[in-house]
């Protein structure tokens, strides 16, 4: 089980959180202007690295706030996301 360091509540067990996928995916500024391909990219295409990954977590059972971490998907080591934008 992961030990996840919530920026507001401190380290807690993984079961207190909900996973939110890749971080830093901005909603399109002008969705109607996107081509079908660009819309598909926004909706469905995500990085899937074996290594460091910027991802979002939601502290469901705690402060109920979103935050970002960098997690290595091979070693499962987590560190705070320097680009944290939650």
């Amino acid at each position: 089980m992961l030990l996840i360091d919530c920026p507001w509540c401190g380290p807690r067990a993984e079961v207190e959180f909900r996973y939110g996928g890749q971080a830093h995916i901005a909603y399109p500024e002008d969705p109607a202007a996107l081509t079908d391909q660009e819309w598909a990219d926004f909706l469905f295409m995500r990085d899937n690295p074996k290594g460091e990954f910027h991802e979002r977590w939601f502290h469901t059972a705690g402060c109920r706030r979103w935050f970002d971490v960098v997690r290595d998907t091979a070693t499962y080591v987590l560190r705070p996301d320097p680009e944290h934008d939650a």
Partner: protein
């Protein structure tokens, strides 16, 4: 022991040295890759084929699945490909000339609330309209087939009924892999283990071969069948895929006398179980929600699945856990596979089977081999093209996938 020393009794397959060139290269020596190579050789006369496996043959998800076979999916596209697989399973022992412990012991999917019952019956009727056997079981029918299911109305999620596919069942996964490998080898296919693809030879929008840890291999047709590691390969050619790789765990109990001779699945309380011929209870549940390449999973997933199992099958409280393991599954946004051509000429893709690839093995190999041989999608593969994520023609099978993700 030298890891490249793959000497083994010749009643199986040769430990092939990679040749500098093949007509086609299959990347991934799991069930789907081996079935693809076998079908290329047996059905399409393409015998100048190598299967490249970075580890040992069928040591990834093929060695780690829960061996369940069924075709009770909701949508027509899924029914077509999974039922094609089931029909091939029914003749596979004869086809490969080997015993696979294929056992049509039936697969039961339990329903635990009114919404569950409605969704299950909808799927049952869809199955029947597609010519797939499907029965509805009331709780009394369930315990007649599987007496150890707890149908007490006092359960947190009482058992209200189940769909039952009698033609569903299990097969011994290792034997399936070995059967395909032996069959492909007999037809001239080179099975090259401990050979990892490290790059691609691309020129003018088409592929000409692969770089590997055992040298450069030329091929005008390169087929990627690497399950959870597919995006690691496509990243090398700049092809972005809608895939996320997650650990999916399974576990077995110690050997017990026979207590269950069917397969029981519950998507709602989330456990599925069958009993191996040797006696282990084979159980699985959900994936870890996050991307992970560690072939292990979170322990709370096991706790959750054990709680569900013991409530549904009180007798399991006496069982002891023998071992757990995890495979890496490649999950697509609609829980359906991606199968077909790519924007790169000569490069073919078979991935995204997520949590349920084993049951599809024979059809996956058959339609993928046809696609590779003819350079156009097999009719059963056509709906599974990568383009569906742009056109929006998704095949949403989260409900029939039976694993929450």
């Amino acid at each position: 022991m030298d890891p490249t020393d793959t000497a083994r009794p010749d009643r199986y397959w040769r430990a092939a040295e990679p040749k500098p060139s093949y007509e086609a290269v299959v990347v991934g020596g799991g069930g789907h890759g081996l079935a693809t190579a076998y079908e290329l050789a047996a059905r399409h006369g393409i015998t100048d084929v190598a299967v490249l496996e970075k580890g040992w043959l069928a040591g990834g998800n093929m060695a780690r699945n829960t061996t369940i076979i069924r075709s009770n999916y909701l949508w027509d596209e899924s029914a077509a490909i999974y039922e094609h697989a089931l029909k091939l399973w029914e003749g596979l022992e004869e086809e490969l000339g080997t015993e696979l412990q294929f056992s049509q012991r039936g697969v039961m999917n339990l329903s635990h609330d009114v919404g569950d019952v409605r969704a299950s019956k909808r799927r049952l009727h869809a199955n029947r309209l597609n010519g797939i056997d499907a029965e509805w079981l009331e709780p009394d029918d369930i315990v007649e087939i599987c007496p150890i299911v707890n149908i007490s109305p006092d359960l947190r999620y009482p058992v209200l009924g189940a769909t039952f596919q009698r033609r569903g069942g299990t097969a011994r996964h290792d034997k399936v892999a070995w059967g395909y490998a032996t069959g492909a080898d007999r037809l001239g296919v080179d099975i090259v283990e401990h050979c990892e693809v490290t790059g691609f030879d691309l020129d003018g929008g088409r592929v000409h071969g692969v770089e590997t840890t055992r040298g450069t291999i030329h091929a005008e047709k390169v087929a990627l069948v690497a399950a959870g590691h597919t995006s690691a390969l496509t990243d090398m050619v700049g092809l972005r895929l809608p895939l996320q790789s997650h650990p999916l765990q399974a576990l077995v109990s110690v050997l017990l006398e026979p207590v269950i001779d069917t397969v029981v699945m519950s998507n709602k309380v989330h456990v599925y179980v069958s009993q191996a011929d040797k006696g282990e209870l084979v159980m699985g549940a959900g994936i870890d929600p996050y991307i992970g390449y560690g072939q292990r999973g979170s322990f709370h997933v096991i706790e959750h699945q054990m709680a569900a199992a013991v409530e549904l099958f009180p007798i399991f409280a006496h069982a002891k856990l023998l071992r757990t393991w995890g495979g890496i599954v490649d999950v697509s946004p609609d829980a359906s596979p991606i199968l077909g051509l790519t924007p790169i000429d000569g490069l073919f893709l078979n991935c995204g089977w997520g949590t349920g690839g084993f049951k599809a093995t024979p059809a996956s190999g058959a339609v993928f081999a046809a696609t590779i041989a003819r350079d156009e999608p097999h009719p059963l593969a056509r709906p599974y093209a990568l383009e569906r994520f742009t056109t929006g023609a998704l095949i949403d099978e989260h409900g029939a996938a039976a694993v929450a993700h």
